[in-house]
């Protein structure tokens, strides 16, 4: 098997959005997530000599980011001091849910599953986006994720609207094919 090589110059273009999504879904704060991604890149650079080339570059960076997320939670926990558990018998409810038994999570709720599934869906889509040609990926992301207007995207990338729609069409067709097996 060919050994993987690190190319830090391409990291931001190739992996920043993927890692950012990963981080946001775990810390739920865009600013913190951004910092964690940046720290991950720095740590990657610093320990580049330890990279054995067994894993793909992105997998390796994700494993660093995982550590950073754990460290982040350690840090905020130690700051808050030892967790103090205070149990108020429901402060806001009027009548219902006074009993502890009524306050536990509904075991039949599907919320947790949905969150997990959406996270998987998110990384599946990100995976497929990284397989697109760079400019197509950028146009697709600006339109679909950022929700930018066609005019703004055209100005920013110096293309005309018909170029833009051709790229959108190709990107969407490719994504449908790529996501096909698992998600449609």
């Amino acid at each position: 098997m060919a050994k993987h090589k690190l190319q830090p110059d391409n990291w931001v273009d190739l992996y920043a959005d993927y890692l950012f999504n990963y981080a946001v879904s775990r810390v739920s704060d865009a600013e913190i997530a951004k910092d964690l991604v940046q720290e991950t890149f720095f740590a990657g650079l610093n320990s580049a000599k330890n990279f054995k080339g067994d894993a793909a570059e992105r997998t390796w960076l994700v494993s660093i980011l995982k550590r950073k997320v754990i460290d982040h939670y350690r840090k905020i926990n130690s700051k808050k001091g030892k967790a103090e558990v205070r149990m108020n018998y429901s402060s806001d409810s009027d009548t219902e849910g006074d009993w502890l038994e009524q306050q536990v999570a509904d075991p039949y709720s599907k919320d947790g599953d949905n969150v997990l599934e959406n996270e998987e869906l998110g990384s599946a889509i990100q995976d497929c986006i990284t397989k697109l040609p760079r400019k197509q990926a950028l146009v697709f992301k600006l339109k679909t994720i950022q929700g930018m207007s066609t005019e703004d995207v055209c100005n920013e990338l110096d293309i005309n609207p018909s170029n833009l729609w051709v790229m959108i069409h190709r990107a969407r067709t490719a994504l449908m094919g790529c996501l096909n097996e698992n998600w449609f």
Binding site: P8, A16, F42, K141, K143, T144, I145, T150, I168, R172
Partner: protein, 76 residues
């Protein structure tokens, strides 16, 4: 009133971003009544839109990325 499949898919793409005029959408609707190929494309296209919505994707702004690149190069 008749449009080609190419036009139909282009209107369909635009409508995913709410950028198709009602007149175009009408033409697309008519086309879809008899064209199986575009029906399939249109269905998948809307599904892709809802998948993207459901996934709650986010991305870094270009400025953030530029800054990251600068910082990385400094350390590099």
């Amino acid at each position: 009133m008749k449009i080609s499949c190419k036009e139909a898919s282009s209107i369909c793409d635009k409508s995913q971003y709410k950028e198709a005029s009602w007149w175009d959408i009408l033409k697309l609707r008519i086309h879809l009544t008899y064209c199986k190929v575009c029906q399939a494309y249109s269905k998948k296209n809307s599904e892709l839109t809802s998948l993207c919505d459901r996934a709650g994707l986010t991305m870094l702004s270009e400025e953030d990325k530029k800054k990251m690149k600068r910082d990385l190069e400094e350390k590099h």
